[in-house]
Amino acid sequence: MIRWLVGAIGFCVVATHALAADVTEIGIGYLGHTGVKPKLSLVEQPADNDGIAGARLAIEDNNTTGKFLNQHFTLEEVRLKEGDDVAKAALALAGHNGFIIADLPADALLQAADALRDRGTVLLNAGAIDDRLREQDCRANVIHVAPTRSMLADALAQYLVWKQWKRWLLVAGSHDNDKLFADALRRAAARFGAKIVQERTFEDTGGARRTDSGVTLIQRQMPVFTQAAPAYDVLVAADESEVFASYLPYRTWDPRPVAGSAGLVPTSWDASQDQWGAVQMQNRFLKLNSRRMTATDMQAWTAARLIGEAASRTNSGDPKKVFDFLKGPDFSVAAFKGTRLTLRDWNLQLRQPILLVDGRMVVSVSPQEGFLHQVSELDTLGVDRPETKCKLR
């Protein structure tokens, strides 16, 4: 009884203190899934906290700013297991968070969006790159921080065309996501004047990713798979499923560079990005998480920073006010990419430069010079306003 009383008094003291300082509490939920997609390269194996680690850093950054504005940001994490009810989890998170950052596959994201539709909770997609989420399946309560497949493909295509590597050998995996990326690459080739001289499919026949006999077999398999191709400049691989692309560099029959899912890879972020003040952020991330920052980390960081930025500009933690500001003409955010990032008002996709990386260095950043646009050169990447199928509802 006494213990209970002491606890209650303690609670009162805390509550009064918070009231006295008049701190605005801004809750952000993080909805992710358990289990990480295995990568072919051990170096690229994602950490268990991939994504959320970036959000955590942004919360720290937001709170450093927030202490000058009496705003306090918190992060609540929920990880879904196979078979968990997405809608239920999203609703539970929305109970005490006005904003939810989601790192979910497309269908799960749509379930969460539809469950939250009438609640006024703002959903920020930090994981799914599917174009359909910004097109026919777009939702008015979802901001997309992750780039789309078409943005990634266009970014790569602009560089390959600038480099005069215009003849592509396209090799796609046999899974649905691989086919979608191949579609985006075909569209990009047509848009920017590259020619796909031949297409091949790499069938996933199953099997372990790592074996004791190692690379011996791969070394024989890949040259054979790529032989007898028509003359080409670059092999472009679409392998989101991580079945074969990373085996291609240095093993093609003809000595040609590899791009796409291996070799020169388009991405929203890389641990080697150090331009435009990014070193400071990379250092902060390393200090907080004891590892390097991935694209998903960056997308989650940017999502949480979007909320922090809008909260400081509106001096409010109200989801509606913050969301209205994010959708308005005055919103822009800095994210170490050399230019302001803004939202496409027709589908709430974040405009952003795309890095082209080789695993060790940033090779280039798209949009490339000379690809012009009447509104923003960032809109040369991905599906543009006149082509969109999105009607925000």
Binding site: T64, T65, V333, A334, R340
Partner: protein, 323 residues
């Protein structure tokens, strides 16, 4: 013997022949890890000094005897003797120093440490660190009010200008500005504080008494997309009438009427223009062009670019002897 006399005589004659108008500018070359020394009489580089890694912020000491240069990747500030043009000392700046400012007496140095969210105070005479002030995320721009009472620091990710009392070292006000504020400059009479926002694309005019943004300088260049206009360095004439703003990858310096806050002219300079320094007589303004590896010389009264001087790799900061 006579030969030595002759040599000495020649040297004396050379020294006497140098016109009084010659000034010396020091340019930090961010990638070259060097400092270029420019003679404004010859408009040429007369010396290149090897310094530490990633030199950026650079400034003369108030007495004009030394040049301090922040070498961020070496976590220190190096001191160059202006007479011998050699590095003679280092200052305990804290990690990754970028920009700094001094008090009017030249006794205290305030350094922005980007990695630490702090401003470090250094006693210049004792070469000792006096303390740190906690500020926003990624502190960068530094300025001190003409009366010496207020220190300004801008934080790039927090997007604020922090007003710090120089006696108590406490933050007294925070003013929100546009995205990625990089540089702060007071009008000489202390009536206005100008803060450039690189990503926001504006310069905020702040009333230092009210701690409020009272106006904004905006930029519009026909044929140039908005994203390319990224204001960084600011220079203001002593009379407070004209300001010059470096617009980064827009490759231009904007000439701004400091009273109306309107741009009157854009001067085409080199690629990715960063920072600037006036000659003490304010006849010339020298600006560093990061990507084209040169310095443009602007004739201030004529508002024209008259010269380009090749310097080291990726020039960033510039300073000229105070008068």
């Amino acid at each position: 013997m006579w030969r030595r006399y002759l040599l000495a005589g020649t040297a004396l004659w050379l020294a006497a022949a140098t016109p009084a108008s010659a000034f010396i500018a020091y340019v930090s070359n961010e990638k070259g890890n060097t400092v270029s020394v420019i003679d404004t009489d010859k408009w040429a580089v007369t010396n290149t000094i090897k310094v530490g890694q990633r030199p950026r912020g650079i400034e003369f000491t108030r007495d004009g005897k030394f040049v301090m240069v922040a070498v961020g990747d070496d976590d220190t500030i190096q001191v160059i003797d202006a007479r011998t043009q050699q590095v003679v000392d280092t200052l305990p700046s804290g990690p990754d120093p970028e920009l700094f400012t001094q008090d009017a007496q030249g006794k205290l140095l305030y350094v922005a440490n980007e990695n630490d969210n702090t401003v470090t105070i250094i006693d210049l005479e004792k070469r000792a660190r006096l303390g740190d002030i906690q500020v926003g995320v990624e502190p960068e721009g530094m300025a001190i009010s003409p009366d010496g009472k207020i220190l300004i620091n801008t934080s790039e990710t927090t997007n604020m200008a922090h007003f710090i009392d120089t006696t108590t070292h406490q933050i007294v006000a925070n003013v929100l500005v546009d995205a990625r504020p990089r540089f702060a400059e007071f009008k000489r009479d202390g009536s206005e504080l100008w803060v450039s926002s690189e990503i926001g694309g504006t310069v905020s005019i702040i009333d230092p008494a009210k701690h409020a943004v009272t106006g904004k300088v905006t930029f519009e260049i026909p044929g140039l997309r908005r994203e390319a206009i990224q204001p960084v360095g600011i220079g203001m004439t002593k009379d407070g009438k004209t300001a010059f703003v470096a617009l980064g990858p827009a490759n231009r310096i904007a000439v701004v009427d400091a009273a109306s806050h309107k741009v009157t002219k854009y001067l085409l300079v080199g690629q990715r223009v960063w920072h600037m320094a006036f000659t003490p007589d304010e006849k010339y303004l020298l600006v560093t062009n990061g990507v084209s590896n040169d310095v443009s010389v602007i004739d201030v009264p004529a508002q024209k670019v008259i010269k380009t001087i090749q310097v080291g790799e990726l020039p960033w900061g510039i300073t000229m002897v105070p008068q």
